[in-house]
Symmetry: C2
Subunit: 200 residues, 2 copies
DNA sequence: ATCCGGTTTAACCAAATGGTTAATATTGCA
DNA sequence: TGCAATATTAACCATTTGGTTAAACCGGAT
């Protein structure tokens, strides 16, 4: 059952752990090597530089954060189900790696130009969602609201618990498991919260 | 008009800039010294170590993020005005230093224990708000909603634009000024969004 | 003027860190 | 088997970086 992962995969996994834990600047190549159980020189054999290794990691992470998520929007051409699917999908993915959103936000802040490409991928899905909002409004299903603002609000309600996780854990005395339960609960309550606000 | 700031103040200002820009790990003492226009050794004269300098900076920043903000909750014993005041107050403060929330979130993630004190300061104000919610519910003004969850949602809608600022700027092509306008607009729309959702 | 405490600087240091090299081990294949 | 290509390692290197030291500077009290 212990699948022999290729060395490159092991490196990427280890690097992801370390980068997420320490950030690009704080991560040490030696630590990645140790985490992967290999020699440091082997890192540079597979990834010429720290920067390149980071890009390799960030690519996959951004993909996970932005890429597939938008797709869940496409599964419905009705706004409310789309919102429900989107929120639940996002929670399901992020609950596996709760530190991912902060990692992404952080690195995007560090190097907005260089990493911009990675978030452009969801462009069509995003405009698809905006259209969905406009149509729903045209049909009189929802009140008049700036679609982009609605999208920001939806993202906010999804992302924030993960960003504020350390604070929430401290304030509410959440264990990892309790935090998990809170997120699962929000899979239901967040769409309800949103829809109550925009339903006309 | 050019107030002669004390050297320590100049250092703290410069350090704040650099730490917020690069994070604790990415910040360089030399860069702080340059930014403050002083010799690097002088940094260690005023702050023995990088860690100590960081704490000095973080103290003031966390104060700004957590300290006075909660107080705005106390200004009203009605829920809806309290929400309006809180949101507007938060936006006003953060718009001056849009990168602060991410900086704080990031550091809270790095060292959750060390920062517990700062959060605890707002404890009474927070429980005061929770009571406000319960009372409003008892009076039949709002629907049945977990007060803590409502608070998380309010914070989410306030904080997230600042966390996602680089992404929003890229996606929407916002300039600094345009971002500012968006935030100012949200001072009105966010409370509306919330109240629409919870009003019974 | 001179002495003295606090302030500021240039030069320096040891450790850490990203990256390289050359040699060794391993694998796939003729 | 033997050989060439690939994978892996130990030792090394140059630079960066946080931090130190000793000397110079400077304003005020004597």
């Amino acid at each position: 059952m212990v699948r022999e992962a290729t060395t490159e995969q092991r490196i990427l996994e280890a690097a992801k752990k370390v980068f997420i834990r320490k950030g690009m600047a704080g991560a040490r190549m030696q630590e990645v090597a140790d985490e992967a159980g290999i020699n440091k020189a082997l890192l540079h054999y597979y990834f010429r530089s720290k920067e390149q290794l980071f890009v390799g990691v960030f690519k996959g992470s951004a993909e996970k954060q932005f890429g597939c998520i938008w797709d869940s929007l496409k599964q419905s051409d009705m706004l409310f189900p789309a919102i429900e699917t989107f929120v639940a999908g996002y929670m399901d993915r992020m609950i596996e790696e709760p530190q991912l959103p902060l990692f992404i936000a952080n690195e995007m802040n560090r190097d907005p130009e260089g990493l911009a490409d990675f978030i452009d991928r969801g462009k069509e899905s995003r405009s698809g969602f905006l259209r969905l909002v406009e149509e729903a409004h045209a049909r009189g299903e929802i009140i008049d609201i700036d679609p982009r603002e609605l999208l920001v609000n939806i993202m906010a309600l999804c992302v924030h618990p993960f960003i504020a996780r350390p604070m929430l854990k401290h304030i509410h005395g959440f264990s990892d498991e309790a935090f998990r339960r809170m997120i699962l609960k929000r899979k239901k309550t967040v769409p309800e919260f949103i829809i109550r606000s925009i339903r006309s």
